[in-house]
């Protein structure tokens, strides 16, 4: 019985301590960009697409960019309209968490959409003036996927015709010796 009391207390305490992923503040990339200073040092959860490059540095971190804009769900290559600039933040992820990731988003490629939780480092003193999210946990919401590219045959044909036309005019108008 004596043993049971502290074990029960510990078990209750364990249940009461929330999972870090749930305790973190749920924010958008836009909020991080606009309220960067206010959220400094906070544990936050943010969702978005990984784009650009995966930069694997020597110190065990992988750096990349996480975008949280309209293009994540509606890529331009799938017929949606341009609605302005991207919204992105830098994230650094422990290398061991990156094995599950598909290639980052680029042309003809929608990168993996991930949900990351970590500490928002605003103007970090350790990396003078830089702002980024130091990721502690990561889960893939949507895997990356290839996007279609359609050839613009009208442009190809018109371009070829114009070049041929230019060649013909050049031949006809060349100065005679």
């Amino acid at each position: 019985m004596r043993r049971l009391v502290p074990v029960s207390l510990l078990a209750t305490l364990f249940l009461l301590i929330p999972d870090p992923a749930y305790a973190a503040l749920e924010v958008s990339v836009l909020e991080l960009l606009e309220l960067g200073a206010e959220l400094a040092g906070e544990e936050v959860t943010v969702e978005g697409e990984l784009v650009g490059d995966y930069g694997f540095r020597d110190n065990g971190w992988m750096w990349t960019q996480l975008n949280g804009d309209a293009y994540v769900r509606r890529p331009l290559r799938e017929g949606s309209e341009a609605v302005g600039a991207n919204l992105g933040i830098a994230i650094r992820v422990p290398v061991e968490l990156t094995e599950v990731l598909d290639p980052p988003g680029r042309y003809r490629n929608r990168g993996p959409v991930v949900r990351v939780t970590g500490i928002w480092k605003y103007h970090d003193t350790a990396r003078p003036g830089e702002s980024y999210l130091e990721v502690q946990s990561l889960s893939v919401t949507e895997p990356g996927r290839q996007l279609n590219e359609e050839v613009n045959w009208i442009a190809v044909l018109l371009g070829a015709l114009l070049l041929v036309g230019a060649g013909v005019i050049a031949l006809l108008t060349r100065p005679k010796e």
Binding site: V51, M62, L76, G105, Y107, H123, P128, Y132, E149
Partner: protein, 498 residues
């Protein structure tokens, strides 16, 4: 009496524009090849179309074959002004067809911004842009920074070259002929290209851990935009994407090299190097850089946004350097830059307005004009304070001993005042649309001085009139007004002349 231009005048102008179009058509083969190699077939089609249009216009222009192909001053200026309108219009074709712009005008805005090495952008989703289109945007900055006319002059030597050369806002003939000067400028650029791409590529590969091909890609893009003080970047977060002090340092070196006059490059290469620091322009730019730097750092310290000196100095230094050289790269998001109020805002805005050195790839009023204005003001004060018959020295050092003449002062003052008027024009129109003074002024100066830093006003939702005004500012600011006024005069003479 105004003399109405005749058919022969149009033929001369068309002939030279045709030649330049052919040069740009040849240059367009680079993005076309890139798209083919990268198997980006959608942009490939649009590059083919663009090349075809340039080539067709080129052969039609050259085919006009005027009786005398000599170019006088007025024709030369009109050719320059029109070329800087024509190239963005046709160069925007691949951008329009990319689907990354809400309206065709936005694509034209980006092409104008690219060619004038401004760097403001309305492009949507740059992070998913085809690599060949990214290459074209950055290559446009290289073409514009080096000078399209300069490219043509390197190939087509002939009479009238000096008019075209000056029309493109260059007044420094480094070597005896314009063609040899143009070739020297290309030589300087190629050396920096090799240094820039190698250094940035190695940093990307070895330090940042990017793939080798992507490291070279980033190196090339940042070189084009950095050395030509353009400010476009392949990722939406600009230089902040790299999160690397070494990468920022190499980029800063390229920006400084781009903002230096090619005369200064010549002096550094061939000597005597000591004279470089005796130049009024060098001393002025070092002083104004120091001044705006102190102003910005004090302002940033007052905002309390940075908790340590190292962070404040690193971010402040990069942003001021980017503004003063007219590059427009940033390491902080627009949303944060907009919060840099007070002195920090003043420091950055003044740095943008002042600009780099004359005959460089930078925009703005230019350091030599600032230096000469200050010297003229000091002389005026001395004249008042000294006895009536005392002589005030008018000599100054700028690639040799020169004198400050009344006509030089007048020309310097006129151009400087025109820049101020241009800055106020965009700011006024921005305010008329309800944008706060600080943001309106910042963005207007950024457009006119061909910088490209933004506090968020430049956005696809911006009013069309404001967009058109920014385009006008980029164009007039890049050409330093003379060619623009010549074109207006030519059109006026055509309409009202006899």
């Amino acid at each position: 009496m105004l003399i109405r231009p005749v058919a022969e005048d149009f033929k001369v102008i068309g002939f030279y524009m045709g030649r330049i179009s052919l040069v740009v058509a040849a240059a367009s083969l680079l993005p076309l090849t890139w798209a083919g190699l990268a198997r980006e077939w959608n942009p490939f089609g649009s590059f083919l179309l663009m090349t075809g249009v340039f080539a067709l216009l080129g052969v039609i222009g050259v085919g006009l074959a005027p009786r005398k192909s000599e170019l006088d001053w007025s024709h030369g200026m009109v050719v320059v002004a029109l070329t800087w309108l024509l190239v963005p219009m046709i160069g925007a074709i691949p951008l329009v067809l990319s689907g990354h712009f809400g309206r065709p005008l936005d694509a034209l805005f980006d092409a104008m911004s690219g060619l004038t090495t401004t760097g403001l952008s309305l492009l949507g989703d740059v992070d998913h842009l085809a690599s060949s289109l990214n290459f074209w945007r950055h290559f446009l900055q290289f073409l514009g920074g080096q000078g399209i006319i300069l490219a043509a002059l390197t190939i087509f030597a002939g009479t009238g070259g000096i008019t075209l050369y000056i029309g493109e806002a260059r007044d420094e003939r480094i070597l005896p002929s314009v063609t040899s000067t143009a070739r020297f400028i290309w030589a300087v650029s190629v050396v920096h290209l090799i240094f820039g791409v190698t250094s940035l590529g190695l940093v990307g590969w070895l330090v940042l851990g990017f793939d080798l091909d992507r490291s070279i890609f980033h190196g090339l893009m940042i070189f084009f935009a950095g050395f030509d003080t353009g400010g476009f970047a392949p990722q939406s977060t600009s230089i902040g994407y790299y999160h690397s002090a070494i990468f920022e340092t190499v980029t800063a070196l390229l920006m400084v090299a781009g903002a230096m006059s090619f005369g200064l490059h010549y002096a550094l290469w061939r000597g005597p190097r000591r004279s470089v620091f005796a130049n009024l322009e060098t001393r002025t730019i070092l002083s104004t850089f120091g001044f705006t730097m102190v102003l910005t750092l004090l302002g940033l310290a007052a905002t309390g946004l940075f908790v340590n000196v190292a962070g404040l100095t690193r971010q402040g230094l990069f942003q001021v350097l980017s503004a003063h050289t007219g590059t427009g790269f940033s390491t902080v998001p627009s949303a944060e830059l907009a919060k840099w109020g007070g002195l920090a805002f003043g420091g950055i805005a003044i740095a943008m307005a002042l600009g780099g050195m004359g005959s460089s790839t930078a925009g703005g009023v230019k350091s030599l004009r600032i230096g000469l204005t200050i010297k003229a003001v000091i002389n005026q004060i001395k004249q008042v304070l000294l006895p009536e018959h005392a002589l005030v020295g008018t000599a100054y050092h700028q690639s040799g001993r020169k004198h400050l003449t009344p006509s030089l002062i007048q020309s310097v003052m006129v151009i400087s005042l025109l820049y101020v008027a241009l800055y106020l024009l965009g700011a006024g129109i921005g305010m008329a649309y309800g944008i706060p003074l600080q943001q309106s002024l910042f963005e207007s100066v950024s457009a006119s001085a061909n910088v490209g830093l933004s506090v968020g006003v430049t956005d696809p939702s911006m009013p069309i009139l404001l967009e058109l005004v920014y385009m006008l500012q980029m164009w007039a600011g890049r050409l330093e007004f003379v060619a623009v006024f010549s074109l207006l005069g030519f059109v006026y003479a055509w309409v009202r002349g006899k």
